[in-house]
């Protein structure tokens, strides 16, 4: 699209050179892509009765295989340096990439279990999304037991985009990944079985705002291209280091504007204030399993991309972007925490809580160090498991009549008396969100705040802990409601967790406790270690340049 109109010097080379792709290193992406395509074929050729099972097995096998391949690739990376660039260096396969991809695949696997949950032939998705809500046609489809098994291929394509998003090594690949990730999600958001108008509204909002932010992102790319003469991260980094590469005289404003616009696009995806407005509506309206997928995997992917852009492409201009992220982080933590206090709907509350957590991760991004990267990675992984678990609990608590989820918190009163296990699980997840020790949330918070303090961002951390205290207020209020309050008049109908949902909640509990008590294996082996000279004599003022060996440049 865009490069065609520009006199890009490398464009002809792309068409003439024989493609020399390292299929092995791309295999996790290819497997997921292949499963997505096969899923579409299944829709066309497999009998309707067998589709759901076929799709589910395919999807789980594909995601599982991709995860195994991702693990194997850790071994095939060179000992020295961060990793390698493949496919003309448009995709970076390095340790952060593999960690993000692995995390996304595990979280996607768990989300798929939630998506597949099916009670009495009733899934979380509309029987026929094209039917007008409340119409006769819809009723007919419901009675006929129609199902949208297209959900599975759509999820696979979204996962493909998520895998590629943090791995992209140039802006165009990243943009494509962004769209591949987002388009299926827009669609999935509109497929809720209950409260379909809400769901459709969410889909439209998400789509419009998402398209808007993509436009920002694209415009930013154009600006940066104008500055650096290339969309490759390594070239942008070199251009910034060389003071503009001489494409345009005094091109600095282009860089700054480009950086800001690209930042808008990415911060929209992570849902940081002031680009967070879509989150509560979309999280509330989307089918809850899809919300779980977005709250975990999309957040991981978006932060992976954000880290790569700011640490790799703009790694030499830390001083330029750091103030911007400071402001965004403070706004995100404070405003979202305060607004969350007033929420009455559990899904909206979790959405705002997700915004606050994005703010906490941003404090680690601001650090611009190996510690910051590791802190963000740990936080995202820990948060992903906990948040899927929390949404899994939400799917089980239904309104007394009609079968829709009991969104209103008032209906959750006294839940611990009727379903102690479920309330206990959600209580644990909420305590982890609040950052209570011996849960993964605490270690995550410690990791991100430690990185920020080491980089001299202590005021940011003070704001962080204060908003932590505010968030604790509303998490604890839910616990009070569930455990200490008398059951409400309109007591919710609590479904027995089926095998799939039960597994999801169990995995969430296990990960939350294990990562909280024994975080050592993950912290020491999977995450980037601060290099020797960085550990000793770290200046609290913070270095202005991201360490070299963290990413492929």
């Amino acid at each position: 699209m865009i490069p065609l109109g520009l006199p890009e010097p490398t464009a002809p080379a792309l068409t003439t050179q024989a493609p020399d792709l390292d299929y092995w290193l791309l295999s996790p992406l290819l497997v997921v892509f292949a499963v997505g395509v096969v899923g579409v074929l299944v829709e066309a050729f497999v009998d309707r009765r067998h589709r759901r099972l076929t799709q589910l097995v395919l999807a789980l096998a594909g995601v599982g295989a991709a995860f195994v391949l991702t693990l194997l690739q850790v071994g095939s990376l060179p000992e020295q340096g961060a990793g390698v660039g493949v496919a003309f260096a448009t995709v970076a396969v390095d340790r952060p990439t593999l960690f993000f991809q692995g995390t996304i695949l595990v979280l996607a696997f768990i989300s798929l279990l939630l998506i597949a949950e099916n009670r009495d032939g009733e899934s979380a998705f509309a029987a026929q999304a094209a039917a007008v809500p409340g119409s006769e046609e819809e009723r007919a489809h419901v009675l006929a037991g129609s199902q949208h098994t297209e959900v599975y291929p759509l999820v696979m394509f979204a996962v493909l985009g998520m895998q590629l998003f943090p791995a992209s090594n140039d802006f165009l690949t990243m943009f494509i990944a962004l769209e591949v990730m987002s388009l299926p999600l827009y669609l999935l958001c509109g497929l809720a079985r209950r409260r379909r108008l809400f769901s459709q509204e969410a889909a439209v909002k998400y789509f419009l705002l998402g398209a808007f932010s993509s436009a920002f992102f694209l415009f930013g790319i154009a600006m940066v291209y104008g500055y650096a003469g290339s969309v490759h991260f390594a070239d942008v980094y070199a251009a910034v280091g060389a003071g503009g590469a001489g494409v345009i005289e005094d091109g600095e404003p282009l860089l700054l504007i480009g950086m800001a616009l690209i930042g808008v696009g990415l911060l929209f995806k992570v849902g940081a204030v002031p680009f967070h407005n879509w989150k509560p509506d979309v999280y509330q309206g989307a089918p809850t399993p899809i919300t779980a997928l977005m709250a975990s995997c999309t957040l991981v992917a978006a932060f992976g991309a954000l880290l790569r852009v700011f640490y790799v492409a703009f790694g030499a201009s830390v001083w330029e972007w750091r103030p911007m992220l400071w402001v965004v982080a403070i706004l995100t933590m404070v405003l979202a925490a305060v607004i969350a206090v007033t929420q009455r709907d559990i899904k909206r509350l979790l959405a705002y809580s997700s915004v606050v957590h994005a703010g906490f991760v941003l404090t680690a991004v601001v650090a611009a160090s190996a510690d910051g990267l590791a802190g963000a990675m740990f936080y995202l992984a820990a948060y992903g498991f906990t948040t899927i678990g929390a949404f899994a609990v939400v799917t089980l608590v239904r309104a007394p009549e009609g079968g829709a989820e009991a969104g209103d918190l008032a209906q959750w009163a006294g839940l611990a008396r009727t379903s102690p296990f479920l309330a206990g699980a959600l209580g644990l997840f909420l305590l982890a969100f609040a950052g209570i020790p011996l849960t993964s949330g605490f270690i995550g918070k410690f990791a991100v705040f430690e990185a920020a303090v080491a980089a001299g961002a202590t005021p940011l951390v003070v704001v962080g802990v204060l908003s932590s205290a505010v968030t604790a207020f509303f998490y604890v209020r839910i616990i009070v409601l569930m455990f200490f309050a008398e059951p409400a008049e309109t007591a919710p109908r609590v479904l027995r967790p089926g095998g799939l949902t039960g597994t999801v909640i169990g995995v969430g509990i296990a990960a939350t406790v294990l990562l909280g008590v024994f975080p050592g294996p993950v912290l020491d082996n999977l995450l980037p270690q601060p290099s020797a000279e960085a550990a000793v004599g770290t200046q609290p003022s913070g270095a202005g340049i991201v360490p070299e060996d963290m990413f492929v440049r």
């Binding site: 951390v461 604790a472 009070v480 200490f484 975080p519 912290l523 609290p540």
Partner: protein, 521 residues
């Protein structure tokens, strides 16, 4: 092979809690027995540990150090000095008594109190852990995690309609303090990393050679404040004490015993172990503000206690006053002051524990009312109950011959040598103590018997067993405090050495300037 005493003492109640939680609720009676047995075993373990403790040996004994989170230099490191040992002993003694006292309290709860006893055991594990930790991170983990069982003990198993709000207030206050402390904890790590070795091991951080020696003055003061605010909230000190009366008033008395008797000690213990020893320079700089806050706490707590109409709240406010004495003793920076403060922490646990427990027995006998005006003439119908209440009350006002007298006296001596004016002001608290305790006794126990109390039963065998040990130790250590002081004194001396403070020469007519010099460096 040495026995990992401390790990044992931490793990046993934790495992016990799990067992109690897994017993089905139909067999709640069995759950209680398991809980009691577990606490008694822990008491035996701690007792054996105390007998093996060598007061003339190294400062920290029974030490264990294992790496936990290598990336952040976090260790599972435990060990006790004399002060920690006495506080662990206090916890181990109080918990079985609380279990015994709470035996029938939760009959009406839907799980028949099973969960309550599991929470008590969880709390016991964490209380022992928090005093035993010799790694700042581990200490913080216990310090924060401890809030959760207490929160449920108040909110779910508490009494009165205000308990939800009280538990929330307790948790948020404590979390806020804890989170500010988290910033300071991270700061400690950042500075130790800057000094070449990122670690949380207490032993590597303190002292003139320690990793924190190079922290500049301003930063050290901020870090001190981060720790201090958290501890002041925990202690609780005026003006951040407001959660305590609410929490104690909405607690079951057993919860209140552990809350005020042990948990709040973590605050003062933390000041002594962490604020003073990690940042001696900053601590010296903050002596006067802390002393003033302590004096305000002493007098304010006492005055407000006099005006209380609810006995649990009254006892809570007396504690605010007592904690003022403890912080005064700690920040006097003399060995008598700190010995007195350390001893005060233990003795206060005994006397307040006894007061809360007996108050609890009264409350169960009077339809759950803790209002003082609902009582009258109790000593005529329940003389043993009234008598034990009187002894506990007298110990709370530090009557000579009962154990708190020794500690209060030491605090006064230690403070007077360096800070004579504050010491004199603090004596007002003693006078007021006589007023609030004796007046409460007079209103509740003397005079004509209330009609509905006429049939009131005296202490049952179980209740006597719950209170008698406390009364016994109060009298024992009142007459013969030497065993406790023998254990505490070496630890205090080493603390003083660590923060490089020595007692002023015993001159008659010490002037304030001389005292300041002693405390200032």
């Amino acid at each position: 092979m040495t026995i990992p005493w401390l790990t044992l003492a931490i793990a046993l109640p934790a495992v016990g809690a799990l067992v109690v939680a897994l017993i089905p609720r139909e067999r709640a009676e069995l759950a209680k027995r398991v809980a009691l047995a577990c606490t008694l075993v822990v008491l035996a373990v701690v007792g054996a540990m105390a007998l093996n403790f060598d007061p003339s040996g190294p400062r920290f004994q029974f030490t264990e150090v294992h790496p936990w989170i290598a990336r952040f230099g976090v260790h599972y490191a435990v060990g006790v000095d004399g002060i920690a040992l006495t506080l662990i002993g206090l916890s181990a003694l109080l918990v079985p008594l609380v279990v015994l006292a709470a035996w029938k309290e939760q009959e009406d709860a839907e799980d028949r109190g099973k969960g309550y006893f599991a929470l008590i055991l969880v709390l016991e594990a964490m209380m022992i852990g928090v005093f035993a930790a010799t790694d700042v991170f581990l200490f913080y983990v216990f310090f924060e995690a401890m809030l959760i069982p207490v929160y449920f003990m108040i909110g779910r198993y508490g009494r009165g309609g205000e308990r939800r709000r009280a538990s929330m207030k307790f948790l948020l206050y404590s979390l806020l303090g804890g989170l500010l402390m988290l910033v300071a904890v991270i700061g400690v790590y950042a500075y130790s990393a800057q000094a070449g070795n990122g670690t949380f091991l207490w032993a590597d951080l303190v002292g003139a050679e320690g990793l924190l020696a190079g922290v500049d003055t301003t930063a050290a003061r901020w870090l001190f404040l981060g720790f201090f605010v958290a501890f002041a909230i925990k202690a609780p000190m005026w003006p951040v004490h407001t959660w305590l009366p609410a929490a104690a008033g909405s607690s079951r008395p057993g919860t209140a015993v552990l809350l005020v008797g042990v948990l709040d000690k973590v605050g003062t213990y933390g000041m002594l172990r962490y604020c003073l020893e990690l940042f001696p320079g900053a601590a010296a700089w903050f002596v006067w503000p802390v002393v003033v806050l302590s004096l305000v706490s002493i007098i304010y707590g006492a005055v407000v206690a006099i005006g209380q109409t609810d006995m649990l709240r009254l006892i809570a406010y007396t504690s605010v006053s007592h904690f003022g004495f403890i912080t005064l003793g700690i920040f006097a920076m003399t060995s008598q002051g700190q010995s007195g403060a350390a001893l005060y922490m233990v003795n206060h646990g005994f006397s307040t524990g006894a007061l809360f427990l007996i108050a609890g027995f009264l409350i169960t006998r009077n339809n759950g009312s803790a209002v003082i005006a609902d009582y009258g003439g109790v000593q005529k119908v329940a003389p043993v109950l009234a008598g034990t209440f009187l002894v506990a009350g007298l110990s709370s006002l530090a009557l000579p011959g009962l154990s708190p007298f020794v500690s209060e006296f030491l605090v006064f001596v230690g403070t007077f040598t360096v800070l004579p004016v504050p010491a004199v002001v603090a004596t007002v608290g003693v006078v007021l103590a006589a007023l609030y305790i004796l007046w409460m006794y007079q209103r509740m126990m003397t005079g004509p018997v209330r009609e509905k109390l006429a049939g009131m039963a005296d202490l049952s065998g179980r209740e006597v067993w719950a209170v008698a040990p406390l009364i016994a130790v109060i009298i024992l250590f009142g007459v013969y405090p030497q065993p406790l002081l023998d254990v505490i004194n070496p630890a205090v001396e080493q603390t003083m050495q660590q923060i490089d403070v020595s007692d002023p020469a015993p001159v008659l007519g010490v002037d304030q300037a001389g005292g300041q010099e002693g405390a200032g460096e």
